[in-house]
Symmetry: D2
Subunit: 485 residues, 4 copies
């Protein structure tokens, strides 16, 4: 089987995007638009939950937002002025609808819906404790732990129960919750995953990225701050900070790959930061060459930055098809061994005889870097120099990003020479971690209180990893996941 | 309803792409790959017909090649070493499967399948004559006329009957036909629509563009020449030229927009020609500005050419979403009047306060040029200068391209000043027809024997337009199309 | 695999039912109801064609009328006061939509639609001649021959062309045709297949059986007579008889099995005739027994007649499930050899120790008679006597009934003793052909001009069998059918 | 809209059937067959859960068993030698899959699956208590209460927890449960709903009715007794009786309508009991008439009994179509007012001028009795006498039968004269409650310890009705059901 997504197969995957609206008629339609703009954060499934003042309504679907939540009958089945939604990239083979968020439960205090971006690093430990006292789980999602902690909390008000629950969890979470009383948006104390706040008329909007505010015409207000709970009830907004303050550690990979280039964070566009990374990369790792060629589409901004800094012309040497397929069958032996390319094609006339600089955002397993270098050579490139707009990815993420196990990360197995040989490039260079911090406007990285969570590059995890440490629990999770199917 | 395809809505549409394989086991799998690479030439429907030495097999489907012809059970139902296929852009509302090609008929001589790229300009006249003598049409496609002309021809051999049929039709046609004896590929005497020939091992491949050869790993051999019939039978290829020779007039719009940038024609990549058009455009129509911004994705190569020629930096000022939807419902009045953009978003931080040159390939109705200029202004652009990489489109095409009726073409209604006002740009300029010919490596256009069919720009149609002249027949076609539903 | 239809598998199959309405608003809705009432005549596919005064509209679907033509959007797509429809039992594996009737063609005179119940016995011969002169067939249906004969006829008016066509075909046909001028209903000169006429207000209705008049509330007027063409145009009805008169030979098997018991023909209900057949069967073939048990559901009326004539009580000894499935998988070896019965179950407490008379309408292959006798023995029956309400079925039908090839007909292979042994009954008896005629109110059958077509019992075919005689053409049909797929 | 199910619309509905297999390879295939045989007990949805020694597997589907659980890929996804299943008739509009049984939960002791036939009359009260202490419900089903009671029980072993749960519930329940240790089948102390036990080789089978044993070839062993828990573990069967003994009160309506006629209970076939009811009805309520006509299909056995006892001939006066549709659209005003009958048709020739006795099993709302009397009169019946094989249905059932609210029960609103007038019959008579008991082989009913639960006729409910008494909770259930959607 040939896939049309050879280059996308070797990326880290953001697992989720979330979007919430409080106080706008037809809120679900806005959520659908917002989720569509966040589709790059999760393509496997989507869900929306709305509250019409009397009842909650939920729709979930495998697949994209478009094709499901652009159908009028679906949106009309989600009435109300408050709604939240979720797009999900599922890491396991689970095709069940049970894990599609927002999750919803009937508590004694009424309905409670949660959309979660992130991952709890002690979810298995908490789950085992809860099951032992009689809680029955509906899903294999770590998010459900939060709901059961709220349901069984000894505090009286829902807000106190919710804070009680959050104080028991560790890891990364940006949450949008709905109750009959209103909407709660919050971020974990380190602010590992993003969450921004906007305004559309009188309505409040929460979203993983600013592009989702743009699509509905909302004005960006500010980020939800690390450790902050923002509560919207009866049109009033209030903020509480129940946690001891910590230095934030937002995910650095949002800048490298996850966020859309037109999103804005810390008053900079992601596009301009990626260009700055490309420029920094050119300065750290110059090379004599004729053309700078981006690996489409994620390498484009860094490639433009590299080209502008180096003076080497930027050219489209790889053309990407807009039409996606999955599994064209193999048309016989003769073709099997040819470099069949369904989604990308070399711009042969351009490349022939040229020394080229290929710019990509990252290398994960390295399998597709190998293929793309080969594609350039097949098209007649004289030299192929690979430049990577992030440091070597050497560690797994446990905060809501789908990373292969460490043993499959190319940079965890090989040194620079080994990697260069593996992908068969004439040269290979990564931006340094300090260079990356500089491109982000910082001084060099400091090992004490670095400004970002960069554990995938450095192995410096900002929270405990309880479930990882209780190794047996990992296996147990696998069993659980399979059992329920 | 909001569509995510606002900018694509205002393009001319190639109506078809064709692909054929003679002499490779599992031919249908190759055809599926080839059609996938030609998907940009027709997205509404696709079909493949195969011949296994004893029987013909056909599969047709609404929608893309991927999703239909990447399913193993579909390809396995198309056995044999000979196969051809077709992608179609349907101009009318006809959702019926009857018009999906390849068309197939049982003639007295055996099965006969045809895949057609182009349009016959006397199809209605011929159809009326055929129906009068008892021919029964299955489709509203002009292609079926060819089959009935073959079936009722007084010649004896199938080849003579086929040539007899071709001599009666006028207009544009690149055809791939299958009979139990072999495959016939041919182009009309003017070569209006493209058709290339390749080789994959011992097998012969025919395709609308070279990118479809690339995807199956076939080697480009040469173009099928205008007026040439190439016949492959029992692994032997022969060529006949039954028509009086004419100066070719290939479609110039293939260079401007239809063909993929990585296709190669006349030994030049389409990408490099489009860059040359952009450079010529910069020389003819310079402007003081800070950024050159392509209208994605079709304006990118010309924008790179414009930037390189003018020295103004190339930047991605408009970000395009990869996720396509159709009809998100309107989320209430407040949002309706906001510039909701589902597929494109301005890179606001980049554009703010800048003088920008927008580069697009063509203007058809002008409606989306207006929207995109507005999107730039909303993002804070100081000046917006629109540059178009083709001359004003003033005339309809009758050779297989979906053009709006003349009254809807902006350039047929307004002069340059009027158009500039309409799209609300600070300036607007088109490349001249001579400039376009120069970018293509010609001297200026000559009104006698121009090298291309450029009727959409000049109104100079290279064939009679019989059906257009018999005005009543046009209405009748509409009636026919509707009747059969 | 187990099927839930073990007893239905061994029946002759009527291949079609037809229904037409001329002159009632929303005609298609009436046709849908009528076809639903005729569903027993063809369960594989259905189609409706309507004429709204300006255009023809057609919908075809695999499967039942319910589930397809009870959907409002389907009926609304079939506007107009004239419509006809067809239910089809397809004899081959062809799943293509091409063969679903009504067939439709654009002739020089305008649109022409045909729904056909019956089978032409010289279709292959005519088809070959037509293809030779350039006609292109869309389907493998014999019905399409009629359309091409009309299209290529040398007569001028459509009616003359239609009669010209009918004069060239041989075999069985009841037809409902639609043209822009009106509706034509006709029956072949022998009236082999049924067709009745009714009235609903000012509208004329045509149907295969009177039950379809009942369902729409129409009043039965009379049968369309053998060799008669009834033409409805502008609300006026006229009748013409273009054929030399012949003694009619309507199908006798309609009385035995095909027609619904609540249909009325020749002023008798089919139910009462079947009871009379059962009574005659009891007189011809009495037996000492405790219970008369019908093979459900088709054996019920004859069993009631048998019980009333013999004085043996009628009891439901076999219970039939209403829920139909196709292919439950085999649940392991232990069960495979047990008599798993998904659709029928013996009423064990009733049967235990009893001498039973099983009454069925016919025996085709005999495979299910064997199973049902076995089921009775397993339930403890002391004796099992099988009585069949038709003579032995020894010959194939070529007039629109799906019969197995002769070699598979039990009665063509074995004498009565052999059949009794095969099905393992204590005794087996069939009604005599004379008994059957008597139950129908006739004197005994006369070999000269018998009143019915009873070829399946007697081998006395009332028309030539041209295609059967030209043996090679039969094989060619098979090839054609497969080729086109 | 016309429905083809006019007569079935006015029946009480059994809400469930259950089937379990312990100890047979490919258990799920047997369960599929068993559920198919129990399809009449619930047509809206079905589910199967299997245990393969390591994992539980579950499949649920809207619709019939056939069409879902006859697909090999579905059965193959349910491996293991232990499996249970459920067919469901859903009383509300809930289309969600959440309520399809068997329900499954991961408890601290491992997986736990439950299939439930019946209804708990204190489920709302228990649910409110459980939610208050933190239990989160997944469904609106009363069955889930049992699972949460098990999960939160303070006992240690699963069996003790299960008994603890059962002691808290009231109402009717026949349950089949699965745990990693084995299968538990049990009936409530009154044995209101049925449950039988069979053997197939070494495997134990449990089923709602004996017909489901027949279909898999299993041997009937005995009923599971009221108040008994039968536990199968490692191939060993043991029985425990944790409840104080009570006089059983099995549902009398199983004999009247719910059970299939070929099921056997208390050593009598349901068919023979229904015939006895018909005979008793004839003796209690004789009438001078020409024909006894059953309302198909449920009235047939009682009609045969009536005919045999009265000497009036049994005839099929109403023919039922086998082809079911839902909502044919109304074909215009002319037809709307006609008695369109899609599923039943009068056998007009038989009925014309005759005095007929119509025999039906019960009258619920009376709407369809009215229609069927009218249908007989339209067909020309001289007199129509309606005889009902059960006493007047005057009370709702709260034990797992879908009854309309009391205000809609014809017999709760009108006396015999009023009912006769309403349905426009010449006479109407019901069997007496004593006559019904006699037909069941009892002496007359005694008001102390009657042998059956006959609350629908007498209002004598054998258990408390806690949720009914707490009226507010009823409304709350409705809200809950809607909220979760």
């Amino acid at each position: 089987m040939f896939t049309t997504q050879p280059f996308d197969d070797d990326k880290l995957r953001e697992e989720c995007g979330i979007f919430g609206v409080s106080g706008a008629d037809g809120a679900a339609a806005l959520v659908a638009l917002g989720l569509h703009a966040l589709q790059h954060r999760g393509q496997e499934a989507a869900g929306i939950c709305s509250w019409d003042g009397a009842m909650f309504h939920t729709q979930r679907a495998q697949g994209h937002v478009a094709g499901n939540f652009d159908r009028p009958e679906v949106i009309e089945s989600l009435p109300g002025a408050t709604a939240c939604g979720h797009v999900r990239y599922s890491t396991t083979g689970e095709t069940s609808n049970r894990n599609i968020q927002p999750l919803y439960a009937e508590l004694a205090s009424g309905g409670f819906a949660v959309a979660h971006n992130g991952n709890l690093s002690n979810a298995m430990r908490l789950r085992k404790d809860l099951v032992r006292t009689g809680s029955i789980f509906q899903s294999t999602s770590d998010t459900e732990v939060i709901i059961h902690l709220v349901a069984t909390s000894n505090y009286r008000t829902l807000l106190d129960r919710f804070i009680d629950a959050l104080k028991q969890v560790e890891g990364a979470y940006s949450l949008i919750c709905m109750t009959p009383e209103g909407m709660i948006a919050c971020r974990d104390p380190l602010g590992i995953r993003p969450l921004v706040m906007g305004k559309l008329g009188d309505a409040y909007i929460f979203a993983s990225e600013t592009v989702a505010l743009d699509v509905v015409g909302a004005e960006f207000v500010r980020e939800v701050e690390p450790g902050e709970l923002v509560i919207v009830s009866n049109g009033e907004l209030r903020s509480i900070r129940p946690f001891a303050p910590l230095s934030p550690r937002p995910c650095i990979f949002e800048w490298v790959y996850f966020s859309r280039p037109d999103s804005i964070s810390e008053d900079r566009s992601v596009y301009s930061v990626r260009k700055a990374i490309g420029a920094e990369l050119a300065q750290e790792n110059p090379v004599e060459a004729d053309l700078v060629i981006p690996v489409p589409d994620s390498g484009v901004p860094a490639a433009i930055g590299y080209a502008q800094a180096s003076g080497i012309p930027f050219e489209l040497g790889i053309i990407r098809s807009h039409y996606v397929g999955r599994t064209f069958i193999q048309p016989g032996d003769k073709v099997r061994h040819l470099g069949v390319k369904l989604k990308h094609n070399a711009n042969r006339k351009l490349i022939e005889g040229k020394r080229i600089v290929l710019v990509d955002d990252s290398i994960v397993r390295g399998t597709t870097s190998l293929k793309i270098v080969q594609m350039m050579r097949d098209a007649g490139a004289a030299e192929v120099h690979m430049r990577i707009a992030s440091p070597p990815t050497r560690h797994s993420c446990f905060y809501g990003v789908d990373t292969p196990e460490r043993a499959k990360l190319l940079a965890a197995k090989l040194d620079l020479g080994g990697m260069t040989d593996y992908i068969q490039a004439d040269s290979l260079a990564f931006i340094s971690i300090d260079g990356l911090y500089r491109a982000l406007g910082e001084a060099n990285r400091t090992s004490v209180r670095p400004k970002y969570c960069d554990a995938c590059f450095t192995g410096d995890y900002p929270t405990p990893l309880t479930d990882q440490d209780e190794t047996s629990s990992v296996d147990q999770l696998a069993v659980l996941a399979e059992r329920v199917g």
